[in-house]
């Protein structure tokens, strides 16, 4: 199951040219970018690991793409995303965030039901990937 997190996640994966165009759009708006990766795809996992520091004062997308590619090489079977941060007063939040790499095979989620008092049901999503230890989650076979 393809996870859908961040901008463009309902579209087919972006090519490097399309990613470059998006980076350039973010840089044009004055948003510094940062690269993050994780192997825990749960939508509530907001703490992805940072790949280096956020990149400030860049003029051209090539520098960001270089880091994206370095992260892809180091973590070929993890999720990698790009965040663009808008630091303007009044916004000060992530302005654009999209996945630039996902594992070849995404096992997906199951819905868990937990019966509590008074026959109430609590629901939670459980990621199949997390059944394996971290670092080993998207190994084929």
């Amino acid at each position: 199951m393809r996870i859908t997190q961040g901008t463009f996640s309902y579209l087919p994966d972006l090519t490097d040219e399309e990613i470059t165009a998006q980076i350039q759009y973010a840089l044009g708006n004055g948003w510094p970018l940062s690269v993050e990766f994780t192997d825990d795809p749960h939508p509530r996992n907001t703490y992805w690991e940072m790949w280096g520091l956020p990149m400030f004062d860049l003029a051209d997308a090539a520098g960001v793409l270089m880091e994206v590619n370095a992260c892809r090489t180091a973590h070929p079977d993890k999720y990698v995303k790009l965040n663009a941060y808008d630091a303007r007063l009044g916004r000060q939040t992530t302005a654009l965030s999209f996945i630039v790499q996902r594992p070849a095979h995404e096992p997906g989620f199951r819905l868990e039901r937990q019966e509590t008092s008074d026959r109430q049901i609590r629901y939670t999503t459980h990621s199949y990937a997390t059944e394996r230890p971290t670092g080993d989650r998207y190994r084929q076979g």
Binding site: T7, Q22, P43, L53, A62, T125
Partner: protein, 353 residues
């Protein structure tokens, strides 16, 4: 901002609308591939030249930079090569992008930084660089202070320079021959790698004094071979220096009186032979000091009323007070008078660098 209704399906995707609209024109731009010209087509090079706006940049280079013939020739050659490459590409003949990493060697004040700045603009106009900005750094910006500090620091600078020119001033400081454990070697290694792999992303320009750069290249043969253009900046002649001085005073809103022009030339004649002479930089300093003396002269003159001409004119006295004239002829020089003497004894040592 849409609030996610369902936690399992966050609506982040909806936010894309604005950005996607921004992306579509880019795709449309890519769609009509520039059609290749047939083999028998004829291209007007003059028109291509006009289109690229090279003449404008080369013209302003000629007008604003005095002398530097070998530099201008090389820049014109590079401009011509890139233009021809572009025209060839229209016929479908593509060659590998030429390497444009450069090394500027020359004495202090010969215009290395100024030319580097122009180079960035020129290469941008010719379509070689995507952004055409200049990132000027020295050893401090590239080399770290402890183990593991250098690589991220160098990479950050390189990322900032992507799409433009990375100008490394006093590049020979990067490598210290006497200290084996210096981190400069690491910075050089990363630079070399980027110069090879990201050739179309950035142009690296090293600058430094000729002898020191020779030592630097002797210690780093890999660097020497990766730099295609070694450009030597010659020292200026006295005539050129005088011209530079006039351009500078003009830019500051001053002008030399006819007598002062003649004195300025004599000043340069003497100054060139003295130690610490730094070409255009010395000229700038001389002009700055002449301004100081002119201001002081105007305040001290018996008649306190001045007109525009007086405010903007540098007189021979403002120049003759310089220590340069005193040092050459032992004892007070004829024209310098009391002011010159007081400046010589006052802060003459500081003044003449």
């Amino acid at each position: 901002m849409g609030v996610p209704q369902d936690a399992a399906r966050p609506s982040f995707g909806m936010h894309a609308t604005g950005s996607r609209n921004g992306r579509e024109p880019a795709q449309e731009e890519q769609a009509p591939e520039p059609e290749l010209l047939p083999a028998e087509a004829v291209v007007d090079l003059a028109a291509a030249r006009r289109e690229a706006g090279i003449d404008e940049v080369l013209g302003s280079l000629d007008a604003e930079l005095v002398g530097l013939e070998p530099v201008k020739t090389r820049i014109a050659e590079i401009a011509a090569l890139l233009l021809i490459d572009r025209v060839r590409a229209r016929f479908g003949v593509t060659a590998q992008q030429p390497t444009l990493h450069m090394c500027f060697t020359g004495n202090p004040g010969t215009g290395k930084t100024t030319v580097a700045m122009r180079m960035a603009e020129l290469l941008h106009r010719l379509g070689y660089l995507r952004r055409g900005h200049l990132v000027s750094v020295t050893r401090d910006d590239l080399v770290g202070q402890y183990v593991g500090h250098t690589a991220p620091k160098t990479k950050e600078v390189i990322k900032r320079a992507m799409g433009g020119v990375l100008f490394i001033d006093e590049a020979y400081y990067l490598y210290k021959v006497e200290n084996e454990r210096d981190y400069g070697g690491e910075a050089i290694e990363i630079l070399l790698q980027v110069m090879e792999n990201n050739r179309d992303d950035l142009v690296v320009i090293l600058a430094g004094y000729a002898e020191r750069m020779d030592e630097f290249f002797a210690a780093n043969p890999g660097m020497q071979s990766r730099i295609a253009h070694h450009i030597t900046f010659p020292d200026y002649t006295v005539g050129e220096l005088a011209q530079i001085g006039e351009l500078m005073t003009e830019a500051l809103g001053y002008r030399f009186s006819p007598d002062a022009q003649e004195v300025f030339r004599r000043y340069l004649d003497k100054r060139v032979g003295q130690p610490w002479f730094a070409n255009a930089r010395s000229v700038r300093n001389a002009v700055e000091r002449a301004r100081l003396r002119q201001a002081r002269r105007l305040l001290e003159q018996p008649d306190p009323r001045v007109d525009l001409a007086a405010l903007t004119t540098i007189e021979p006295d403002d120049l003759l007070a310089s220590r340069v004239f005193g040092a050459a002829s032992d004892g007070p020089s004829p024209g310098s008078g009391g002011v010159g003497a007081s400046i010589r004894t006052g802060h003459g040592r500081l003044g003449e660098r």
